[in-house]
């Protein structure tokens, strides 16, 4: 925590998401128009299912990073609009496939698409959105941006497979966990920010700085998400408390408990997470154990460390309102936990 306080003293207090929202408002209008346009298909089921997710009120944080990244690098063209829409489609496709993989019934506080239209349609419409994402990127014609985003696509899938392989495995360590969230979440945050610099044809160092910003921000974001799954408010979160618990996901709060708990506690985690034999009071007990071992605090502390890394990385990006807005986003992502 100390590090972040020190940074705030240097840089002034965070103003949350508002500066970013103001900065990107016009461009995000165009991005949102494009998103609606590219979810169109003569095949009726596609727009129906795509809109279910598109209209469900995600924050569109990732495409905003692309827009702000491009602005921070002084980009003056219009290619960042298509890249931002492509980034959001990649994310939406991942959500559709995730829900199938996790058997999720709820997404952003609504019934998940797979619950309404079935796993089959969710898999295929996810594929369609991924295809549309690539079409948009290709239309922009910026090979470095294509390279960044196609690398991210492969890495995200790799991360999802890693997560699947680690699920229910209570021997998963903090290093494994960090590698998983790096691939499944932080890689797209990193790519989203970096393509802003790539399309602006900025030097390699600036691209790397924005990539590092995005990567650290994505790590912080996912750590907070995983903490909230045991400590959040389900209405605000748009998913149920305890989803990760029920799905046997081994996230950092659990790993902290496993590290500090005795044999009896470890057999509790094995019964619930590995064997999936969950009884009525088990989630409450899990949350109690997290209090005992300060697992949520430890997770959020780790999030703050990555947050500080994200802010540090911005030193490599030209100063200005866009860069300041990106700085403010960091605190917003972490403040979700309060």
């Amino acid at each position: 925590m100390g590090g972040v306080v020190a940074l705030e003293e240097e840089r002034g207090p965070s103003r949350g998401l508002q500066p970013l929202l103001d900065l990107v408002a016009d461009d995000m209008g165009a991005v949102n128009g494009l998103i609606l346009d590219k979810a169109v298909s003569d095949v009726e089921l596609i727009p129906k299912l795509a809109h279910h997710l598109i209209d469900s009120g995600g924050k569109r944080l990732r495409p905003m990073l692309t827009i702000a990244g491009a602005k921070a690098c002084g980009y003056r063209g219009s290619g960042h609009i298509k890249l931002a829409a492509a980034v959001e489609f990649m994310h939406t496709a991942t959500l559709l496939h995730d829900d199938v993989v996790d058997d999720s019934d709820l997404r952003r506080g609504q019934q998940s698409a797979r619950l309404i239209w079935g796993n089959q349609a969710s898999v295929l419409v996810g594929d369609f959105l991924l295809g549309q994402a690539f079409r948009m990127m290709v239309q922009v014609g910026c090979l470095p941006a294509l390279e960044i985003l196609s690398n991210a696509a492969a890495t995200i899938a790799e991360g999802e497979v890693m997560q699947l392989a680690a699920a229910k495995d209570t021997s998963t360590g903090e290093g494994d966990y960090l590698a998983i969230i790096d691939a499944k979440t932080a890689a797209l945050f990193a790519a989203a920010a970096e393509v802003g610099a790539a399309i602006a044809e900025r030097p390699q160092e600036e691209r790397m700085a924005l990539a590092s910003y995005g990567r650290n921000l994505g790590m912080a974001f996912q750590l907070v998400d995983d903490a909230l799954d045991y400590a959040g408010d389900s209405r605000q979160l748009g998913k149920s408390i305890g989803d990760d618990f029920r799905e046997g996901k081994i996230t950092l709060p659990v790993i902290v408990c496993l590290r500090h708990g005795g044999d009896e506690e470890r057999s509790f985690w094995r019964r619930t997470l590995s064997e999936g034999r969950i009884e009525a009071a088990d989630l409450e007990r899990a949350i109690r154990l997290m209090h005992t071992h300060r697992a949520i605090e430890t997770t959020l502390e780790r999030a703050r460390q990555f947050g500080a890394g994200a802010r540090d990385a911005l030193a490599g990006v030209p100063a200005g309102p866009a860069t300041r807005a990106l700085d403010d986003v960091v605190e917003f992502c972490i403040a979700r936990a309060n």
Copy 2:
């Protein structure tokens, strides 16, 4: 049949797949090496599952079209190798997702990946292979090829969703069916052939000629496949006879029967395909009805028409051994039915 015989008289008898195999042997060695290389990942489950499909002895017809297309257009570089591997990965990813969507237990005569490793892993490894496909294409750096293949990716997914929506719906007409196979199968054949011309930087007419060749060949290929599902040898086919029947797919052989059969027959098709209430002797009855209505012959006749279209399209491609080998492939694809 008459049309094809006439064509053979003009062009000499078909020599099957062998000329193509000989023509592309060296390059396909490199493609196969690349396929193995790009299925590698530190995430153990990925190469395991990918190899299950890669090693299962598919013909690799689509990447061979890319190699032969490039050769027909006089291409002298090495970018066609990566494009061909990318085409095969796109196909493999589609197969993995298809098996999940169709609940298939068998693929190329082996247990399907989803039966061994589960639907979740099949969805995610499919996503990984698609990501790797895009990475390879981007590395080649040929924007027209990227445009062709990213368009195909979106179209294939659209076709799969169309097929899903039409499944079990006995009001599906021949036009609907042709639109489905055009998107789900012929689009990738077309793209595979066209990128050969694109990377050779050949004029638009030559690209269109190879695209038309591939599209017609893909239509013929799928029509034969759909005929074989009721008339083939399951060992040769690598899938069980009657898969489409059990999955309620409305393919052309069924559409022909629905068109010519009376009320009693239509209620048979509705019970089996729409309602999925299939009894022991029903597949036999379906096959008998197809004999009665010459449904397999009609389907194969349609395949031959598309085959003739494929051969005609080659008139727009420079003559030479590669173009002759592509011509021979047409007859091979149709002869599978004998």
